[in-house]
Symmetry: C2
Subunit: 281 residues, 2 copies
């Protein structure tokens, strides 16, 4: 495995692969890798000739008062995990490499889909994500890129921008990896105290409760969400939202047979998100 920290180094490392028309699979991450990330790498390994993983904690997708400064940076451990996962190239640029010295004036904005759900409480978050993903796509120029389904709305935003901006890249969503008790793996789980970690399992339990009710034919989506929010509040969460949507994040109606249940809630200062897809078939 090669580690590259500059755009020039990465271009040089990929030049021969590109000329040989090898397929390039790309997994963008913010590091602090867990089994969820490694599942993405495995998927890329299975499908592509060359696997590139980026580790970059992107400042522009964190809002005021969010955890940019304290976000866990564990490059050495990550590097070992990626070597073991048979990654070909680790791209770990500095903020200076990614954003340069001059003032950046360009942003990529994905409108309605990014203003919804997490976008309501995290102003500018998805513009930061869309802009850095566009930059990374232009730097790596992959054939296929892999994103976790845990960040369901992020995946939807990236599918939109990829299609809207005509990137010749296949976007693959990879299922969420969960702890034995159901908690979705996330770097932010590391912020939780022992008690909070116990309480955190309520998110997945709540998702399952709502899923069961939907499968049993419950149609009062607002009531289901209110019950779920109460369950989370009872476990000590500050609920940001509980929503039942169609797979494309529209509003479901009485004829819907496929849904995604989405939750965002805080335990103390730690904001957790999760989702579960449900289908009648």
């Amino acid at each position: 495995m090669k580690t590259e920290t500059t755009l020039q180094g990465l271009h040089a490392a990929l030049g021969a692969a590109r000329a040989a028309r090898k397929s390039i699979g790309f997994v963008p991450t913010m590091g602090n890798l867990h089994d969820g990330h490694l599942r993405l790498v495995q998927e890329a390994r299975n499908r592509c000739d060359i696997v590139v993983v980026s580790i970059f904690v992107n400042p522009t997708q964190f809002g005021q008062g969010e955890d940019f400064e304290h976000y866990p940076r564990t490059l050495e451990a990550d590097s070992k995990l990626l070597f073991d996962a048979d990654c070909d190239i680790l791209f770990a640029p500095s903020v200076q490499q990614m954003y340069g010295d001059g003032a950046q004036q360009t942003t990529v904005q994905v409108d309605s889909i990014a203003a919804d759900l997490c976008g309501r409480s995290r102003a500018g978050h998805f513009t930061g994500v869309a802009t850095v993903v566009t930059k990374l796509f232009n730097i790596v120029q992959p054939n296929v890129a892999f994103f976790g389904e845990k960040d369901y709305q992020q995946l939807a935003v990236i599918r939109h921008l990829t299609r809207d901006l005509c990137f010749p890249i296949d976007i693959i969503g990879v299922p969420t990896v969960r702890a034995v008790d159901g908690l979705a793996l996330s770097s932010r789980n590391g912020y939780l105290s022992v008690e909070q970690r116990d309480a955190a399992t309520t998110i997945y339990q709540t998702l399952q409760t709502v899923a069961t009710q939907l499968k049993q034919g419950a149609l009062d989506y607002a009531a289901l969400c209110a019950q779920a929010a109460a369950q989370l509040t009872g476990a000590g969460f500050m609920v940001d939202y509980v929503e039942i949507r169609t797979p494309l994040l529209g509003l479901p109606d009485a004829q819907s047979t496929e849904w995604v249940i989405l939750i965002a809630a805080k335990l103390g200062k730690t904001r957790l998100i999760d989702n579960l897809s449900v289908s009648l078939d």
Copy 2:
């Protein structure tokens, strides 16, 4: 010369060139080609192995009440000119090919530089330009792209977005081609009546007057611009702006030794722009 009208067709046509690591030069146009465009094609021909010219009248860069509907579309004549200019691939997609059937949610925004000058009177224009250029860059994936210096601010916006979004593309500005009497070639010149066409030469005369005064040491930029605007108004123009800027479009000061003079003005319904770079050296 091949003509391609679909993204798939273009990808197929360029695949072999890319695998052979041939350099791809790209000239994006809105068609109705004149010698200014052909100068861009010639420059691409001189520098690159493969020359791709796009012809696409992009609806999203025209504002309400602007000339999208009446913009001249002359594909057959353009195609002959490009064949004679030794272009390899003409890419002439439909609006449907470029924007698809679903709702587009993604825009590329270049902030301060696009809010200035033409951006003040053409709301959304540079967002339309930046977004379609991003799409075309992703579709063609050129090594070098060529833009006319006549659209000075557009060139600055594109240089910014290319750097900010990390496109691995060299941007080349190509000097303006002028008629014998100095009028910058533009597809919109075709809208002018015989009398308007005569009056239109005042733009270049005014640019030269201001350039002479700058070279002679005039420092009251506001007074120079006001005089120039009066000269244009006297010739029948409705002046949008006359501005003296630094080459990077900042405000010049008493120490400046390089400037660009920029004019936008209307004759009847036809909006014309031009600029002239001036250096003391």
